[in-house]
Amino acid sequence: MSLSLKKWLSSHYQTWLSRRLPAQKQHRLQQKNLFIFPSLLGASYFATISIFWLLGTNYDNNLILALCYLLISIFFVGIFHTYLNLHGLALRVTDAKPIYAGELALIELCFTRSGKRQHNSISIGWDSSHRQIIDWQGEDKVLIKLPVRVLQRGLFVPPRLSIKSYYPLGLLRCWCELAMDTTVLVYPTPVKCDSPVISSSASELSETQGSSQSISGQQQEFQELQLHRSGEPLTQIAWKQYARTGVLYKKHYADYASDISALSWHNYPGVESEMRLQHLCFEALELATQQRPFSLQLPGVELAAADTKQHLNAVLSALALYQVNADVSSQERV
């Protein structure tokens, strides 16, 4: 009963928030998006104040009353201090590197401030488990990498960023919840496929990895002569040229081996589709570390073979975004 009420309340709060504070690339903390309310400690502080007042009144003791009023005014001034501790900060997302599902996404935020105010003990986090605290004294800007756990591949939209501060006395809590207009590309988790891989077209697909390596040594071709530097193997020295010019040159060979691997959706029959993507991801990474070119084939997606870093990124994003519709990601914003 109470749980459903809580749910209902929180869903209403969320819709209200999203209307009031829509997602933006940059935010500036100001009156519009900052909330302030006494904390539990603040409530107990008020209890203390009232006991002071009772003590002072009953004993007709002006000094205790004076202390009581001082506490009230400190609380009052504390409201300004707590508010100003957050006010005037501006933040934007500077970097959101792609990650693999199940990892922590590190989203880098850049905080700048207007003026030279100190900002102390500001707790920031996407969720309650990975909070960081910035204590900002001298620098002009603060870069902070905030982690958030991501479980699903696709385009991850981080939850609302919560920023809160109890400074200076802990009596008041000033906070805001900002939706950052940013996404993190989440690749599938690389998982090694234990069952043997079925090659879709045997002619194109490479044999096992061991044999391909043995080939690579033979298929090197002569490319150019380079100046020999001491320490390089003598076998590569171009003796003919030495005889002619007296300069030690070495023969430089380049690897023109061309065993192109084809990664395909159809290589894993009977495997569940998410799992297939994870296997493909693992294979792609394996091949990339060996610097071997490979192609990718998914239903509706086809990428030609290459071995560059960009190609790997393209392959991984294709895997990440395979059959991810945009609505799913927007629903994730909670």
């Binding site: 502080y45 203390t48 004993y59 000094l63 205790i64 202390l67 005014s73 109890y166 200076p168």
Partner: protein, 687 residues
């Protein structure tokens, strides 16, 4: 409270312990002697726990500790339902809670308890120094709250490490302490105006219920009885007895300043006491009308003044004779002595008008009264009695008799503070015939005895004599050392007349005032020369007392009446809206410097007119949440801004062109048109 449950940092513990010691220290005087030991024990214990040398005490041990210490407190104080009991329990809770200090919530509880304990010392002492001491204690506890906020990031830093980190409590002095002190002071200073206004205007509603009060107030220099020869040495106590502010311009001479308290009429051969009958008969209507008649007469020498009497633990009040009272709390008796209905447990301030020359109507003393004022125990001090009879036969006129007696004192007797003990059976005989040395009590007592024995009605009045004018002569300070006793004698033609035999022996005592005179006496007799000897120190003491007096008058004595007057005077009336206005004003006074500093810091300080307009542009964009990096050119920044804020894309692109033209365009370009263009474009920005 978010981070409740975290292990505490050394900083918090350090601040708490400083506050702990500071808050408890002044209370130890009022608490049983074992209390400091307990406080020290728990402090040491907690330090050892923090250093991981000892484990946290078991529940049973803590329970036993609580039970036994409460029991001991009950045993020591007799009752827990007294002020000391209440404070004692509070301190116990504070001390014992320290043992449980582990998480943040314990720290917070201790901080609040500490604030109470700091405030409690004000129940016992309300001097200015006590107040500021309590204030500092409370600020230290607030500093402790700040450390709890600041430490959370240190917590965060090592949150990865599991298990108990062996914490080393190092109370090093580093910059973070300065930062905390600064924050606390800023909070305090900014809160001060609001606190002052609240203090001035918040209504005082008086006690809500009966509370146990402090029963151990200071003893006065004047007690309710006077026995001769009990005390061999008079202690000089320079603590203030009362302070007097005269309303009138002219002030009485020092020799007129007899602050009359009690009248002692009963003598049992050794001790003078108040007569229960006389001192329970209110002043009669006849007496009142006499006084009134005199007051309106032309010869009246009238002074109007205000007395602030220190807590005496007794109920009688002091006044210059003869006083006229218009205060419901004060009652006047037949012998014109004054009392208050309740015992003075705290300072008491009252207004009086005194007519110095007033002589009670020389109406004949009633026989009953004559009997009372001449009665003596029949078998005491035979030698003195014989001398009195001899004198009575020699001089028929009481006045001449008195003169003869005084002459005798002048020629044969001397004033001393160390008279030594007198023979207990017949002390007056011993004094008059043997020792011949004494102070006011000896002289007054023996004079009254001799007069009574000679058939002249006499009584003893006690109180204070003289006083020291404050440095600006605004008020008179009367110390306990000025305690005095003198004789009042009934003369048929004049009524009751004051007779001070001490003047016969040591006239300077009266002329110069007790303090200076006694100081001289002391140094002359080789006693330790007290601070009174040093003129400079005396001046300092007086000045300090002046501040103290104002403190008492305006801070401690600030009551509903004063409040009403002040508010009325300040605001021209006491209405809710005026008070609200005042509070608002205080808030503004607080907020104004903050806002001014903020504005001053963010103001554009360019001397260059072009850069000024660019700075304005940047400030506008800041409202969009966009700020330029240091090394970023304006064009880059505006381009970036345009990509962020699509709705302003066009305006920003225009701004880019205009500002580049303004700052870097060919020299012959007209700059003011560019500036105007920028101004215009800025207005088109949508937020």
């Amino acid at each position: 409270m978010a981070a409740a449950g975290n292990k505490l940092a050394a900083n918090s513990i350090g601040w708490l312990m400083i506050g702990y010691c500071a808050a408890l220290l002044p209370l130890f005087v009022h608490l049983p002697v074992w209390m400091p030991a307990l406080a020290g024990l728990t402090l040491f214990w907690q330090l050892q726990i923090y250093r991981n040398k000892i484990t946290v005490p078991a529940k049973l041990l803590k329970f036993l500790l609580v039970i036994s210490s409460v029991g001991m407190l009950f045993y020591s104080l007799g009752s827990l339902f007294s002020l000391r009991g209440f404070v004692g329990l509070l301190c116990l809770a504070f001390c014992l809670k320290l043992l449980e200090l582990q998480a943040k919530k314990d720290l917070y509880l201790l901080v609040f308890l500490g604030c109470f304990v700091s405030a409690c010392q004000l129940l016992f002492s309300s001097t200015m120094s006590a107040f500021f001491y309590a204030l500092i204690c409370i600020l230290v506890f607030h500093g402790c709250l700040i450390t709890a906020q600041l430490q959370s990031q240190q917590q965060n830093g090592r949150s990865g490490q599991r298990g108990k980190v062996s914490a080393v409590l190092k109370l090093r002095w580093d910059s973070s302490h300065w930062r905390i002190i600064k924050s606390v002071l800023v909070l305090f200073v900014q809160g001060l105006p609001i606190a002052v206004v609240l203090f001035l205007v918040m209504p005082r509603i008086g006690s809500l219920w009966q509370v146990p009060i402090n029963s151990s107030v200071a003893k006065t220099g004047v007690s309710d009885s006077l026995s001769v020869g009990d005390i061999s040495r008079l202690n000089q106590d320079s603590s203030p007895a009362m302070r007097v502010t005269f309303k009138t311009k002219n002030k009485p001479d020092n020799s007129q300043l007899y602050w009359r308290g009690m009248v002692l009429a009963d003598f049992d051969g050794k001790t003078w006491r108040r007569d229960t009958k006389i001192s329970s008969t209110p002043v009669s209507a006849v007496q009142r009308s006499q006084l009134y008649q005199y007051a309106t007469g032309p010869t009246a020498q009238t002074y109007s003044y205000q007395i602030m009497l220190e807590a005496s633990g007794q109920n009688w009040l002091y006044a210059l004779n003869t006083a006229e009272v218009e205060n419901q709390q004060i009652r006047q008796w037949q012998d014109y002595s004054l009392t208050r209905s309740t015992v003075l447990n705290s300072r008491f301030q009252y207004q009086l008008r005194s007519h110095l020359n007033f002589k009670a109507n020389p109406q004949t003393l009633s026989a009953e009264q004559f009997q009372l004022y001449t009665s003596l125990p029949s078998n005491s001090n035979p030698a003195s009695r014989a001398m009195a009879e001899k004198l009575a036969t020699q001089y028929s006129d009481p006045r001449r008799l008195i003169d003869a007696l005084m002459r005798m004192f002048t020629s044969e007797f001397s004033y001393t503070l160390e008279p030594g003990k007198l023979q207990p059976a017949n002390p007056i005989d011993d004094f008059l015939y043997n020792t011949k040395r004494g102070y006011c009590e000896h002289f007054a007592s023996s004079t009254a005895f001799v007069l009574r024995a000679a058939g002249i009605p006499a009584r003893i009045a006690t109180g204070y004599q003289g006083g020291q004018w404050s440095s600006d002569a605004s008020y008179l300070l009367v110390t306990q050392a000025a305690a005095h006793a003198w004789v009042e004698v009934w003369l048929d033609t004049q009524g009751w007349v004051r007779l001070d035999p001490t003047t016969a022996v040591a006239p300077q005592r009266i002329e110069r005032g007790a303090t200076r005179f006694l100081a001289q006496m002391q140094s002359a007799t080789g006693l330790n020369a007290g601070i009174n000897q040093w003129a400079f120190l005396r001046q300092m003491r007086l000045r300090l007392d002046g501040i103290n007096y104002q403190w008492h008058r305006w801070v401690l004595g600030y009551d509903n009446q004063l409040q009403y007057n002040l508010v009325k005077q300040l605001l021209g009336g006491v209405d809710a809206w005026r008070i609200a206005l005042l509070l608002l004003l205080a808030t503004v006074v607080t907020a104004f410097p903050i806002a001014a500093v903020k504005l001053w810091r963010s103001r554009i300080t360019m001397s260059d007119i072009n850069l000024k307009s660019i700075a304005r542009l940047e400030k506008k964009l800041l409202r969009l949440g966009l700020s330029r990096e240091k090394g970023e050119t304006l064009a880059c920044f505006l381009q970036r801004s345009a990509s962020h804020s699509t709705e302003n894309k066009h305006v920003l692109t225009q701004l880019l062109i205009a500002s580049n033209q303004l700052l870097y365009g060919p020299q012959q370009h007209a700059n003011n048109t560019d500036r105007e263009r920028i101004q215009q474009l800025l207005k088109e920005l949508k937020y």
